[in-house]
Symmetry: C2
Subunit: 417 residues, 2 copies
């Protein structure tokens, strides 16, 4: 595909270039999902995954100076000690820019890569709670100021401010201490990106940032409010948790070229998606008619499916008269809202959501073209800056600075194990 080098899949230089572009745009953080399994049609496209989030962020940490570095790490098949050590190492390496998106694993194919079946949902969440508490306790096993590194006196550390943690839950445990001192931000920031009541509970207790998968402004506002209320219920200031709904972008001079660019990326999958688009609209649709718009009769009969929150938007796009192919190119079946078109549309989307209390910021996913991030940085960011909605430079140096989260040493909540 023109504009995408298939070798980028294993090219850490391209990951570093991407991060440097985001840093040029003063983005607060990179957010790295994780999906340790081979998926997709590998014959025609690179898997949409990062080959290893921590190794990638190590490379990025060495090639950037300010942008935060948030990686997903599942607690279902990882030991708390290993998570604590590697995220803290990233935090030290980046001088206080690391964050951990703490999630359970929900795909049976991933469990199979670990030679196991998925535990029950309640067991996974119990282990997640235990793991976060152990990891935060390990991070805090060196108190603030424990690391002296005083060349003059020869004192390396204050052993009275380094303590074991001796925590043992039902699923995981650790004695500690971790042999790593605090970073410039104390310890990494917790993120959360799961869903449901159990995910909300985790976010409310521990998270400073939450990534949302939400399609409408109303749903985003409701999720953000639920999150803030849940935080208050556990005694936290709701402003301590920032909600970042996703937004996917293809920034082009006009809508048509944006759609064409998206068709070039994923148009080959459209024929098999037509049937589902029909279900969303309450119609029978056929791949053979991919290049035709809906007929007047179809538009009159169409009803957005209550089973898919993206359906109303899909119908709105259909009513604009686009062909089925172009409706799909609008990303109506994508994981997040999609902007395909001029920068001002992306800026307007974000301003509207932000001013409606539906977002504290956004997790932006530019398309896979190598210049997708540049269009965001060079065209969308200046619009937001001119409108007074986005900072013109970093105010601090750590991820906690960027999020307005206070420094942290150890657990943020009382131990519940």
């Amino acid at each position: 595909m023109a504009g995408v080098d298939p070798r980028n899949y294993t090219n850490f230089d391209s990951q570093v270039r991407y991060a440097q572009a985001a840093e040029r745009g003063k983005f607060q953080f990179l957010f790295m999902p994780d999906f340790p399994v081979l998926t997709g049609n590998v014959e025609t496209e690179a898997p949409m995954i990062n080959i290893d989030p921590m190794m990638t962020l190590a490379a990025v940490a060495r090639g950037t100076e300010r942008i935060g570095l948030v990686a997903t790490g599942s607690t279902t098949f990882n030991e708390p000690y290993n998570l604590a050590r590697q995220f803290k190492a990233l935090d030290l390496m980046s001088h206080g820019r690391a964050g951990w998106n703490a999630v359970p694993t929900s795909d049976p194919a991933i469990a199979a890569n670990y030679g196991r079946d998925l535990p029950s949902r309640s067991e996974k969440y119990q282990r997640l709670h235990e793991s976060i508490q152990i990891v935060q306790a390990l991070w805090g096993s060196w108190e603030k100021g424990a690391w002296l590194h005083d060349a003059a006196s020869g004192r390396f550390a204050d052993p009275f401010r380094i303590q074991p943690i001796n925590l043992r839950g039902n699923h995981v445990g650790s004695s500690g201490p971790l042999p790593l001192p605090p970073s410039e931000q104390g310890q990494p920031v917790i993120f959360q990106a799961g869903g449901g009541d159990q995910g909300l509970e985790v976010a409310a207790r521990y998270a400073s940032g939450v990534i949302g998968a939400v399609y409408t402004i109303e749903a985003a506002r409701a999720q953000r409010m639920a999150l803030r209320n849940a935080a208050e219920r556990v005694g936290r200031d709701p402003d301590e948790i920032k909600f970042f709904p996703g937004l996917m972008t293809t920034i082009t001079p006009d809508r048509r070229s944006g759609l064409d660019r998206r068709i070039a990326v994923s148009g080959e999958t459209f024929p098999q998606r037509v049937e589902y688009l029909g279900q969303m609209l309450g119609l029978q649709l056929y791949a053979a008619r991919l290049d035709e718009p809906l007929s007047t009769a179809q538009l009159a009969a169409a009803r957005p499916s209550p089973r898919d929150p993206r359906s109303a938007h899909a119908l709105n796009i259909a009513r604009e008269g686009w062909s089925l192919r172009d409706i799909l190119a609008h990303g109506v079946i994508d994981y997040h809202p999609v902007i395909a078109g001029p920068a001002v549309e992306a800026a307007d989307h974000m301003q509207t959501w932000f001013e409606a209390g539906a977002a504290d910021g956004f997790w932006l996913s530019p398309d896979v073209y190598e210049d997708g991030i540049d269009a965001l940085v060079d065209e969308v960011v200046p619009l937001l800056q001119d409108r007074g909605l986005f900072h013109r430079d970093y105010e601090g140096t750590t991820l906690r600075d960027h999020l307005g989260a206070p420094p942290q040493y150890g657990l943020d909540t009382r131990i519940m194990l």
Copy 2:
């Protein structure tokens, strides 16, 4: 301590500088032990550990071009899938320079950091065998040439050359495939650094490099021969396994300044070591007499202890008339043989051992001073090059090239799970 910045403990720049110096010396690989527990007297000295081998080698991979990168990864508390993924990511990131030192965990304090007790030795070794086979199978789940990355035809990979592994042992398992293509050397190289018959068996089956902890030329030759014989018994060419005994160096213009430099680093621990030195020599020795040599009567009565293979060397040093402090400064109780003195002594040591069939190379550990590696590279390496014992430049680009190990895709031996 002068010449050692205590902040180096968390400074990845200093790790990269160290690696770049070793690469300037054309060293074949860096070898990174791992010891995930806080040890030592943290009040006065940095722990003698790396805070995270994989994150460190990720940084080093980005800052070097030719030197191999070998990290220790225990199979006792790590999942094969995680080991396979992270070492393969390092292999891709470094363009074929990664190696994995596959070992079991033997310290109960490490087990406690994972909230567990140590499994039995036989269980640990069974899990080690299973883990190496699963990891190698995952590495080989993409055959040679499976990754097409053909921008012209749009073909990313050949799905018929990517296969699941579906291995399940008594302790660990994985379905695969790993979503990572082969590197420039196929897959990482296996190293081994354990001991005993079970360690020998692991080395013989899987390893291309073995790190030895051995104090005398006779013992090193015996270990190397045992290793080669064990490799032949499992049907391998013994030349495929290289044996690297350790050597610790403090390179200075003369012996006296070498001893003083070592006293500055660790002299404070000497008083508590005097009693053990006495046991090695069959004498009662006292810390109060640290600055005196052994008396004629003591030298006449001294007998090297058969329980410590370092004893004969300690007695030889004592007979040279050094004080107890200086005897200890010679490193007679260290983990490996120690050279403290002029470069020619280090070169002579290596030439003697190499020509006696006691080593294929050496794992060199310069002292903790920042210029310790430079003295090795700038003073010892040229001597070995002039004697025709060491290459003047890298012949290839991958770790397999440096070791003379053939490219590998998948398991090197038949599956025994």
